[in-house]
């Protein structure tokens, strides 16, 4: 693609010359490790089964509404795009690389690489810490491998969501608020409302809430069978990926067709 190489070089230097990049990556490692150590210490003395092992590796994984690495990498995605608008950088960047889609692709490419590498290294560090605390290596059966692979995918999708939403809305505070508010408040509220008899009809809808659905990618053993129960990891992943695709596509179109 025309301009992609130039955009890739620019994007790499852009990311490496920002203090916030290193701060967010350090937070992802540090907080992830702290959570892993706390969980490992809590189960010390008991056999590290695959379910707990996956939770340790993914720093809490599906147990928390905001998966740690996913949120932090999403913040990185938000800042990557938000800085352009907040500090008027978008025009110099487009003057350097006028092919807007090349710039979008290069940014996604670099962010994907960073998010994936940080997540994998964080899980490796968590495994080492778990071994130090419990004396056991976390088991790596098929279920754990699926959950950890799902975690990497989930983190990448969150990163894309952060960047895509910011291209669409062009406001860092608005996007950050949305990214925290929807999975922390809106989705639990909708799920809670289904407990009321009069709102029980919401239950089928609540199954498809995208952030909750996305977390099924990290669950082990595999959740649901997709037949009236919970979504499977694949179904959940597809639901969350659909949300990310829509937001990213809308943001991409806005960036490519609007005034800079």
């Amino acid at each position: 693609m025309r301009g992609f190489d130039a955009a890739l070089r620019l994007e790499w230097v852009r990311l490496l010359t920002l203090r916030s990049t290193f701060l967010v990556v350090l937070l992802a490692f540090g907080l992830g490790a702290a959570v892993a150590v706390v969980i490992a210490a809590a189960v010390r003395g008991e056999p590290l089964d695959p379910e707990v092992g996956a939770v340790v590796l993914t720093s809490g994984g599906a147990l928390v509404p905001l998966p740690l690495a996913a949120v932090l990498m999403a913040v990185l995605g938000v800042l990557a795009v938000g800085h352009d608008y907040r500090h008027g950088l978008v025009r110099p960047l487009l003057a350097a690389v006028p092919q807007r889609s090349a710039l979008v692709l290069a940014r996604l490419y670099v962010m994907t690489g960073v998010a994936a590498v940080v997540t994998v290294l964080s899980m490796v560090a968590n495994a080492g810490l778990a071994f130090l605390v419990t004396g056991e290596r976390p088991p790596l059966d098929a279920g754990v491998l699926r959950a950890t692979g799902g975690y990497v995918l989930l983190v990448v999708l969150w990163t894309w969501l952060g960047a895509g939403a910011t291209w669409l809305v062009r406001s860092t505070p608005a996007v950050l608020t949305g990214l925290f508010l929807v999975p922390l408040l809106v989705e639990p509220l909708v799920q809670g409302l289904t407990e009321l008899d009069t709102l029980a009809w919401l239950a089928p809808v609540a199954r498809w809430l995208p952030f909750a659905a996305g977390r099924t990618m990290v669950l082990t053993p595999s959740p649901g069978d997709g037949a009236g129960g919970d979504l499977t990891a694949l179904q959940g992943g597809l639901v969350f990926a659909a949300l990310v695709s829509v937001v990213l596509a809308a943001g991409w179109v806005r960036f490519a067709t609007s005034d800079a």
């Binding site: 070089r9 950088l89 960047l93 003057a95 350097a96 690389v97 006028p98 005034d259």
Partner: protein, 316 residues
């Protein structure tokens, strides 16, 4: 050579740029003039495909988005503070240089060139407006481009900085390069530019050499000072149809529509003593005001006319 054709841009119901066509030739500094809100910045963004609108601009025959390495062909400064406040000046330029595979040594070269060498490793958070302007100029010069497009580059510069900028841009243009500089500082533009593109309310008012513009939009006057200025005025009116005489004070008049020779010969023929006979050439500012008088977006009500009327009411 820049060729802008039929540039057009609307923001809702506001037509910011209307069917604007002009050319900028290499070898001279071209001033891009217009009152505030005339559409200068929008036009520059349209030219660089940063804003979406009608028309097209070609740089030596190529659209900006199709340039192989844009920074090596066109350098631009559009906004003064277009940098991340915590990314050092050097890193800001390194980032842009990376896109065009410009070596790092060039980054320090341009920082030295614009006088920011000593603060290259500083975060620009605390940069003054002038320093920010210099950093923008350094970014524009990174690729040693053949074309420079600068939006109000003198804003925030001190007098030394303005003089440096003027000399730098003239030398840049003298090397056969194309330089387009937008500004509303007319005195500065009068010293810097040889060609002008003047717009008002998004429309082209004039394009061409500064002298032509001044000549077209102003009248040359003859200043005559004489102890017999009343008699001279009467003689002039009787001898030349359509001549305009504007009294300046008790002994001086401005004569429009005649040359100095005509006034001098007539005075001599009627034995009228003259103490001064000279030509008063209008300034770029006068020409600009004349040309764009009806195209100011937000004008103060009345201006000098109302002030004069108010003074007359006071005295009456």
């Amino acid at each position: 050579m820049i060729r802008a054709r039929n540039l057009d841009k609307s923001f809702g119901r506001t037509h910011a740029v209307r069917d604007l066509t002009f050319e900028v030739r290499p070898g001279v500094v071209t001033g891009f003039l217009g009152p505030k809100g005339a559409g200068k910045s929008t036009t520059l963004r349209l030219m660089l495909d940063l804003d979406k609108g009608g028309g097209e601009t070609r740089f030596d025959g190529v659209r900006y988005a199709e340039l192989e390495r844009p920074l090596r062909e066109v350098g631009c400064v559009l906004d003064v503070r277009s940098f991340h406040p915590t990314r050092t000046a050097r890193d800001h330029l390194r980032m842009l240089a990376a896109a065009a595979s410009i070596p790092a040594v060039r980054v320090d070269e341009v920082l030295d060139l614009v006088g920011l060498g000593e603060v290259a490793g500083h975060r620009p958070r605390g940069f003054s407006l002038g320093m920010a302007q210099r950093l923008g100029l350094a970014a524009a010069l990174l690729g040693d481009p053949h074309t420079l497009i600068l939006d109000e580059p003198a804003n925030g510069l001190d007098p030394h900085g303005i003089q440096w900028l003027r000399e730098f841009l003239r030398a840049y243009a003298d090397a056969g390069r194309t330089v387009l500089v937008s500004s509303h500082q007319l005195a500065e533009m009068a010293l810097m530019a040889e060609d002008l593109v003047v717009i008002g309310r998004g429309r082209l008012i004039a394009a061409g050499p500064v002298d032509d513009f001044v000549g077209r939009f102003t009248h040359q006057s003859v200043v005559v000072r004489s102890p017999e200025v009343q008699r001279l005025g009467t003689v002039l009116r009787m001898s030349f149809v359509g001549v305009t005489i504007v009294p300046e004070d008790e002994t001086t008049i401005l004569v429009e529509g005649l040359r100095t020779e005509q006034v001098g010969d007539l005075a001599a023929a009627h034995a009228i003593t003259l103490h001064e006979l000279s030509v008063r050439t209008a300034s770029l500012e006068q020409a600009f005001l004349e040309a764009t008088g009806g195209d100011v977006e937000y004008a103060a009500a009345g201006g000098r006319g109302q002030a004069r009327a108010a003074a007359q009411r006071e005295s009456g």
